[in-house]
Symmetry: C2
Subunit: 118 residues, 2 copies
């Protein structure tokens, strides 16, 4: 009930896509609005095919979509694509905090025992 589990490889794709500075920069740009491939390429000192590769990888991970109109390919952020990442992080925190809570209980109980015992 706590989580909806998605395909295991999806998180891999997402995290791996985010693990590259160029791709994160592309996403940061796209957070401000859609852009053509050339617009995306402009800030980088990188050959077009290399940048295209990044865009393809972002698309394969589901973070981005693109449509071609005439000779221009427009790339767009996918709404909610980060959700699985956020969910995983939240889950980890929940587990961690659950552990802390249990530890807290333990310490509380321990201190109560001491009061009783002394």
């Amino acid at each position: 009930m706590t989580t909806m589990n998605l395909s295991p490889g999806q998180l891999d794709l997402l995290f791996q896509a985010l693990g590259d500075p160029t791709r994160r920069a592309i996403l940061e740009r796209l957070a401000r609005g859609p852009a053509s491939v050339s617009e995306l390429a402009a800030p980088f000192d990188m050959a077009l095919p290399s940048l295209m590769g990044h865009v393809r990888r972002l698309e394969e991970s589901g973070l981005v979509t693109s449509t071609k109109d005439g000779r221009i390919r427009t790339v767009q952020l996918v709404t909610g694509a980060f959700t699985p990442v956020r969910s995983w992080l939240d889950e980890q925190r929940a587990i961690w905090e659950g552990r802390l809570d249990r530890l807290d209980d333990y310490v509380t109980r321990l201190m109560k025992d001491r009061e009783d015992g002394s």
Copy 2:
């Protein structure tokens, strides 16, 4: 101004560390408490040196620390290690939601939040 920027490669290391299912599984285990290398290895059908490599990578990314006591190396989650990841995601969302004007306040609030282990 708006953000406290951490070393550029740090996010790379973090996201890349998270981009592997074995490493995420290790983290999930560690969220429940520290464990020895062998304990970590137990659930996996993987040679020890391979698993050790994952632990090393987690340690290099700052997600985990380990100490050796006798012949046992105990691995532990690093508190707050996920924070840069969360911050990046939150920033993206803030930009995407067109809240650039309030980003400063947002980050201030975020840093004031309790540091937890998520």
